[in-house]
Amino acid sequence: MLSMAICEEVLAKALSTGADYGEIFAERSPSSSLYMVNSRLEEINDSVVCGAGIRVMLGTRTVFGSTTDLTKEGLLRLAEQVSEALGQGKTGVSIHLERQTVGSCCPVARISSEVPKSEKLTVLKRCYFAAKEKDARITQVKAQLIDIDRNILIATSEGKYVQDRQVRTRLACTSIAEDQNGTESGFCGPGRRMGMEMFDRLISPEDTGREASRVALARLGASFCPAGKMTVAVENGFGGVIFHEACGHSLEATAVATGTSQMAGKLGKQIANEKVTAIDDPTEKNAWGSIDVDDEGTPTHPIVLIEKGILKSYMIDKLGGRRMGMPSTGSARRQDFTYEPTSRMTNTYIANGPDKNEDIIASLENGLYAAKMGGGSVNPITGAFNFGVDEGYLVKNGKIVQCVKGASLIGTGSEVESLLILLDQLGVCSSSGSVPNEVGQPLIRISSITVGGRN
């Protein structure tokens, strides 16, 4: 993409006014999406993201610039702009880069961007029609096959010259079900860091479509979830979004380094029930969030965040590390070349616990079983968090009695910690199923949390 010699010259220019660190992030990332609705291929979108970002640092001050002009002149102009914005004066700098190899936690057999679109269309149609034909009450289906071929290059004033190719493929299906009671939707969207071989054995396009329709149909017959504090069991897989939102974001350096996270200053302290061990593992084979090298060129490795309830580590990028006086953990991520890196989770999950799944459900006298979670969000300052429940069931005396809709789980502030304390039973994670594996957990029980619904 950019030769080593050009990168050396551009970095030297970027550091010429006294920066103590500089980096170039360049990418050329073609992506394509095929979109089906009304039983036909409605749209194909080919898109390319191509450009470079240059960042310089002096202590904890940063200047960042980005451009789509990848000529040597264009990059030198940008380097001059960022160096001038950082400081004045002239320092002679010489940069010597060395090529670094990266691991291969995500082998790819058939890169999606190189596979004929007709083959992708076949996969998409298998998903679409399986969803459509599941039940006469399925009135509409939207299905999309997306692939991205992210080619990145990172060169830093510390001498790194790293290239990586990150291939991701995702099938996403939304089904709409309708009867005399109303209209509901269901979603299923498995994705992997793989090519089209993902659909050979691992992910069934038909099962993906049927699952989206199953959720829509289940919700169709559901009544509104009652509101109030209750005991909740959250199913494995994407249920890990609870940890991701309620705790994970608060362990990212971006929040910790500014002293605004509830988790700042708590390393080595008991912050969760002793049954809780939480791990961020960027090296999991072919998982959606996996990366061999982060967006600052640092090699990745699994990070134990919480071990038996004790806070062991944060997720740290370069700037966060400087602010915290700690080394990077290889947790720097950016959406594309127009963004500065930030610290982010990769594949985060709670490790399996000692409890049996059936015992956890049976232990609920009057509670909610969240079979499928939607998304959620958190404010790290106050710790206020919320999660949507896509598919929920009321449990009475240990028995699942009724599907409910419109439920959400919320909590705040110091409850982030108490929530982790209250994660009091952990079952066994059978598999990640057909959902993206960026979050994961065994079946968990939270002894008391506010459930939003309608009385």
Partner: protein, 448 residues
């Protein structure tokens, strides 16, 4: 991107498109530059200067449309996009006659103020000025507090072989204060921004509002679950309307994804409610006379006195319904969707104090979060994490937090009992949706 450069790019691309057999060809570019600065503790921690854009091609071959786009706007990249678009057109199965805007349209003149980007230095100095005002605004100010400033300009070119030669230029700038306050173990945050020339932004004004927003929420408790009169602050009603505004898109209705099928001309809301979409909303720096397909834009009532006057159409959804485009075509990456310009609820006559009097014993909702997870756009149901204040003796009383407000968007439109007299902006100048305060006589909340 200069006009001369785009002219040349278009001409080269048009010739190649013709050689590929394009019956209609379109080249679109949207891009620009931005500057931003922010502070951390007592220093300017970050400064960023970006230049980005997207070049899109769309062409009609054999009665079908192929598209492709890239952030690179070089002649070589344009040629590659044309080849991809031609290949895509062969696969697409959409069989209706594909639509492009005809040339020779009349466009309203946009009253634009000439825009010049501020210097990097001005942006940096403004950010520090906001930071200093924030730190001076309270003794409880703590780490995490920051000031910031930004400026951006954007240009659009849309040329087609049907004779369209459209271009537009827009720009804006502003500054913000983010206050974090600490009291014992508790932390609260507040945000306020202003979009105007940087030298006109008062740091003290922004800091006072942001800091007050944080300060007045200390000691918040969980309210009891039950049904309450609810006053949604304009900014919260704006979040609700933003979440559900796609229900007014004809494309969503035609695909069975909106419950407003066959409702045009019918009463769907209280007669108090009038909802307008105005591409020329005064004070908005992004006014534009043509949409993503080149159709002239105009001001329209979506709901008038409770009656759904029109859905929002682009050329394709309009043709399907036997109607003209309402000028709401949106350029996604290369494909066409639907968008709103400035969608706003026409203010009523009541002051906030009057709304409080009508909502005695209720809750004034001033914060809502998590719409992407807690709202179902198809059914209209929502259950959202909220915070706010109890309303007692006609006034804002003690703060409450961590409760959910549950309801249904379509029912909410019918149940609005009063509308406040002032429109609030979420991000002044830039927000596409604007709302006054709204009173709903009874909604279920889930708390203690």
């Amino acid at each position: 991107m200069t006009e001369v450069y785009f002219d040349k790019l278009y001409e080269a691309a048009r010739q190649k498109a013709e050689s590929l057999g394009a019956e209609v060809f379109e080249l679109y570019y949207s891009g620009g530059e931005d500057l931003s600065a922010e502070t951390f503790r007592d220093e300017l921690s970050g400064f960023s200067a970006g230049q980005s854009g997207r070049l899109s091609v769309r062409m009609l071959i054999g009665g079908k449309i192929g598209t492709a786009s890239s952030t690179l706007a070089t002649p070589e990249e344009a040629m590659e996009l044309l080849s991809k678009a031609a290949e895509n057109a062969k696969l697409v199965e959409k069989d209706e006659e594909a639509l492009f805007c005809e040339g020779g349209q009349t466009y309203r003149e946009v009253k634009s103020v000439p825009f010049t980007m501020p210097s990097a230095r001005e942006v940096k100095e403004t950010a520090m000025r906001m930071r200093n005002a924030a730190y001076a605004s309270s003794e409880k100010i703590s780490d995490g507090t920051s000031g910031g400033a930004y400026a951006a300009q954007n240009e659009i070119f849309l040329y087609t072989s049907k004779g369209l030669r459209l271009s537009a230029h827009s720009g804006g700038m502003g500054a913000y204060v983010y206050s974090v306050l600490e009291e014992g173990e508790e932390k609260r945050d507040g945000f306020e921004s202003a979009a105007k020339p940087l030298e006109e932004v008062s740091g003290e004004e922004l800091a006072q509002i942001a800091t007050n927003r944080a300060a007045e929420r200390f000691g918040a408790t969980l309210p009891q679950s039950g049904n309450y009169p609810i006053v949604f602050e304009g900014k919260q009603m704006q979040q609700i309307l933003s979440t559900f505004c796609s229900v007014f898109f004809a494309k969503e209705v035609q695909q069975g994804l909106s419950l407003l099928k066959d409702k045009e001309g019918e009463k769907i809301a209280t007669e108090r409610l009038t909802l307008i979409d105005d591409p020329f909303f005064e004070g908005n720096p992004m006014q534009i006379a043509f949409d993503g397909e080149g159709t002239p834009t105009y001001t329209k009532a979506v709901i008038e006195n409770g009656v759904l006057k029109t859905l929002l159409y682009n050329l394709e959804s309009g043709k399907k319904a036997g109607k003209a485009s309402t000028g709401n075509g949106a350029r996604m990456t290369a494909a066409i969707g639907t968008k709103v310009y400035n969608l706003y609820i026409v203010p009523g006559k009541n002051t906030r104090e009057e709304l409080f009097k009508m909502a005695e014993g209720g809750i004034f909702v001033t914060g809502m979060k998590g719409f992407h997870a807690g709202a179902n756009v198809v059914s209209g149901d929502f259950s959202i994490e909220s915070e706010g204040f109890m309303i007692r003796n006609g006034q804002k009383a003690e703060p409450v937090k961590s409760f959910t407000v549950s309801g249904n968007f379509f029912e909410l439109l019918k149940n609005i009992a009063a509308i406040g007299g002032t429109i609030e902006d979420m991000h002044p100048g830039y927000s596409k949706i604007r709302c006054p305060d709204i009173l709903i006589p009874s909604m279920p909340i889930s708390g203690a």
